[in-house]
Symmetry: D2
Subunit: 387 residues, 4 copies
């Protein structure tokens, strides 16, 4: 990653992410880190007062603090210095209408995951984005980790051979108790079908797991067989899924996502095994990647260390041994997005490495995955995903 | 564990386990470690010459070196100094006839896993052992690890609450290539349906995983949904299974066993999550156990360390920090078996702790598990295990 | 850490840190991350052309791009919108003259470590900063890690009792070969006595180790006995030090710093043992802290996790399990510095937590430590540090 | 390691190690594991009653249960079936007289460490053993670990180049409190100068560290500079040492041994860095060895795994992934000792690999190391070790 040395910064707006929100500040830090963006407008809350407060706190110009995203899209479109891109950091159910408004205004979109609450909405956004010709990135941020890029590169290079087995898991413990009952803000909306769509755990972290494994392996998921569980008494939605995975071409695997696994803070772990070797990556130790080529002792690859490819080094800031973390991987998504947006603005081809970012297509696939999991959980049968 | 301070040692015979075998020497070291047994007779091979050589190498008396286990059972039964127990360390398909012979001779049985190649044989052995009143231990050796005992104790104590999710895996990589093709002895018989029964990976390591999780959790497995895979071209049997688990009482989980996962030597890992906490154990770091009580930072329990229960300390030899391994856990199975046998010989009740050893009942359940997995793999539907 | 919600940002200048420098961009990201600063002026290189280029790349106003730091101090002092603070990111030998210039201009100073090339300079800076009443922070950045703050808090609370032994090490491998010979920029200046002062490894990473251990333990280092080594043939300065440590009050310990230890990228590890317990922290896993209270199993404390104090949570951005790294710890130094500066600007008392930052006094002590180590290496005798 | 397939077993006696002792049972298990020895005689305690009880519990023949080691040496010497070797498992101060008695009887000696309480005794034992032509092994058992053998092999092969730095530590916590005060048997004798010689921590675990580092590196220790500490109030001897190490040929290093470091059970860790690479070994994870060749990513070598030399495989029993531990490494010392003894008995040359075992010469060097450390601690100056 290089610090912005361009003559200008991309003018960015934000919808959602006001005071008290978790993910809004993540997006802002990610946008700020390498100085490629300048936050100039926002509809940071649908509550006018909170929107105003949040906007002032971010030192936005008063006339660019909105409480209505439709108005924001329209006004920004008409300004000569209007925003060039918008970040959508709202609960899931608003992704669709907000994205529609900004796509229509010809403004590039950076949308939090999952893309939408239903497959229909997701597909429709895909169609609209394509027609409008806007960049539409979905922030499956784990793809921004250098060692995830390295993993992808290793698989693509054939170094571990034909993939046979994919084991992926995403384990958390923060929903072990019924936080919803005590009014915990994050728990409340994340376990509310009206705001998140059909899957809670499936949509929140299951889709991260899905996206990560398909990003790294390049495999197409053919069908799933899922057990969808709600363990905590009184909870309305799923808090754990156990899924069997069948990929096109014969690979098999398992996906486990849980938000009720005590002792796991954010345990996203991917293991891919092929005919020639295996790789293992752990999101809590993101600067490392274990590579075992069959017949040789395993090696510990490290971000910035010996034997790392350009794919990973391109999104590396610090020397080996100085740990990079979650904010840096998120910033890498913003870094690549800046490249996609500038290529559009300047009518040139983007760096092919940036094109690998999860975009609206990957967003649609993840929604389809959630649908298939939930359906399989109900039917107790294999469900084709058509991904 | 205490070194034998009894006036006598148990007279032990062995069937199978001659020169070149892997597991035979493990049983002998395990029997020898604490000096509770004396190996005095053997039918170490069905090949007479090899049996004789192996017997001489172990300094058995010439008249107690057999090549025919039926003859061995009969002769040892009739000797005043005949063996009191026999270890069965043959390929799986011989477990049944050998066990029948020694049960009939009233000799206690220590049988390698899995118990038998079919459920019928397994159930029949259960019936015979019960009628004969002999001790019949199946060496699911992982139950001998002190920290596995500690895990069981923690679950039983209610410290992690009601179990919700069980994640277990057993990953190896030694069958990544078609070793059978090059005449590799272990690979040859372990991938031959005639010698191992319906499941290869399922029977060899899948049953270890099954036994471990039921031992620790005490849960009854209600039904399974399995994907049974043969990844290596030319292989006759399964080399990986991915299984969804439904337990009585609502717990759910996943089991993954693979022998084609490069970078995994003997990766047996168990994780159990309940309403109050979780535990994690890794068979490659068997002296450790991680305990996370929800709401507190996780603790690292260590064999012999602070806060360990009598259940684990009872099978501990060395102080904390001096690592114990596979042979010691196997020796613990022999230690507890000695207690079961002596209780029989002396017509007293055994130490209740020793009774927890996997015996013929647990052996039957593991065979049933393999059947269910293989059936589900074929039918692609949930299969009730009735365990 | 909270994102800046103040009506204004602190106007920041930078000396050194132009294109191609390592630490300059670190300071800029750290300043930018939470939006408390705005970089508005710079003398980014002493080479006028490179200074101009670097300034333009950072979008500085043309009249605030300087190549002469004396001129910069003077002009910025006289501007109504002049900088309020300056970051010094030059090689060590320039810290003194640059700091003098800005102190004289009444501008707050954020100086990279080590403070100066000689004890005389260091002490003089201390005197000048005090007289001028400016904030003077030395960026011993490891003090910014939340779990380092937690470690300090645990020691201060008496939870591990009276400290007996301190084991600290900082191991790298990047100077294993004679990089200086091939013109490697970082290696060249870091192994040049004229630019770094008497100690190379001692000054570069030895002082980090020194600062970290005194920050966490609060102990005063009484005397040292050091072996100072230059292992790589052709090298002019030390590339490893092994040091015995005697603290006031009876604690003892060892410090090892090496830049020629293959397999160590940035291995900064601190272990502190007291009469009641011990703590261990590893800079490559900075989100974790191991606490062993004697008589209990060790616990794994995690940033943002259960049982963490306000001292650590205050400088935490992300929830537990989302790793924070080097840039975030550096940003925490800038965050606390912003508090110190704002308190000065607004004539109020700063948050006491921010006052704990390493400042010019700690900078002086670290220089004294280097002197003592180098002297002991020569005399082969214990040297009193008077720290 | 191969199970004994010899026509006979070595007849072994034991002095010390009766009921309640720690190390006696370790020696017996080690001797028994591979079946190369038969314990047939013992003076297991100097207390006649306890000696008798212990002998009976081990099923020794009544006429071979002694309470006087002098008598035992004499009588066993005169028996046609007398012992061929003796294990000395007494407190340190008895090593000398017991060893003298058995050497004089022409019986091979396996002596626990450290060899003796004074350098004079140690050197005298060396002379006597040489004159008598007996095997004299000192059980610095860590040399028995396969991956320690591998480490030695890697250094000897030149793969990590010329050694520059050796970092070794041995940290325990069991003496954190004044156990002696409460009559703790192990603590009592291990902190009594009359029974252990001049150094407590230095002699008990410091010599293990010393032996391990010289075994692996082959370096000669030239001089030491030590801080010798007694941290626990009321303790008579040292409970921690911090030592600077100067080796012939220019290598340097540090040694830290502590028995008051809470959270460390048995933390023996060796790191060796050379001009081409580094190795790291941790005695609590003894089946692993990390190798970093400069310029390549580090590899994880595992016992029995890919890329392991014959030196390690020779002392390996179990396949990769089935952990071996402390008892197995101790058994490897007995295995190699059996080879040395049989070579003597059969007047042939021993396997050169077995000759590498620590013997009386290495025992003397370790005593010299303790003397030098204690002297340096008093003089506060560098002390030449002449090792």
């Amino acid at each position: 990653v290089t610090e912005n040395a361009d003559a200008s910064r991309i003018r960015l707006g934000m919808v959602g992410g006001g005071a008290g929100a978790f993910i809004g500040v993540v997006h802002r830090i990610a946008a700020r880190l390498d100085d490629h963006y300048e936050l100039v407008a926002g509809a940071l809350s649908s509550d006018a007062e909170r929107a105003a407060l949040s906007g002032r706190q971010l030192r936005l110009a008063p006339d660019r603090i909105y409480s209505d995203f439709t108005q924001m899209a329209a006004e920004e479109k008409s300004r000569p210095d209007g925003i060039q891109a918008v970040t959508i950091a709202t609960p899931n159910n608003l992704h669709y209408p907000v994205a529609c408004a900004f796509i229509e205004a010809g403004i590039h979109v950076i949308c939090d995951k999952p893309l939408a609450c239903s497959l229909e909405e997701a597909v429709d956004l895909g169609r609209r984005a394509k027609e409008a010709g806007v960049v539409f990135v979905v922030t499956y941020n784990n793809t921004g980790y250098p060692m995830v890029r390295e993993a992808r590169e290793i698989v693509a290079s054939g170094r571990i051979g034909t993939i046979r087995s994919v084991q992926i898991e995403y384990a958390q413990d923060w929903l072990t108790e019924l936080l919803e009952a005590s009014g915990h803000k994050q728990a409340l909306w994340r376990e509310d079908p009206a705001q998140v769509g059909p899957g809670a755990c499936a949509g929140d972290i299951g889709t991260h797991a899905f996206n990560l494994m398909t990003y790294v392996t390049g495999l197409r998921l053919n069908s799933v067989m899922a057990e969808v569980s709600t363990f905590v008494p009184g909870r309305k939605m799923d808090d754990e899924i156990n899924v069997l995975l069948n990929f096109d071409g014969g690979a098999r695997g398992s996906l486990w996502a849980s938000q009720v696994a005590p002792g796991n803070e954010n345990g996203l772990r991917l293991r891919v095994y092929g005919s020639l070797g295996g790789i293992e990556w752990d999101g809590e130790k993101p600067n490392h990647l274990r590579l075992a080529e069959y017949g040789k002792p395993p090696v510990e690859l490290t971000r910035g260390g010996f034997g790392i490819s350009g794919a990973a080094n391109r999104v590396t800031r610090m020397p080996a041994g100085l740990p990079e973390g979650y904010l840096e991987c998120f910033a890498n998504v913003y870094f690549d997005t800046a490249e996609l947006i500038r290529a559009k603005l300047r009518r040139r081809d983007p760096d092919p490495a940036a094109v690998l970012l999860p975009q609206v297509t990957e967003g649609i696939e993840a929604v389809r995955f959630v649908d298939a999991v939930i359906e399989s959980g109900k039917s107790r049968a294999w469900v084709t995903t058509n991904i």
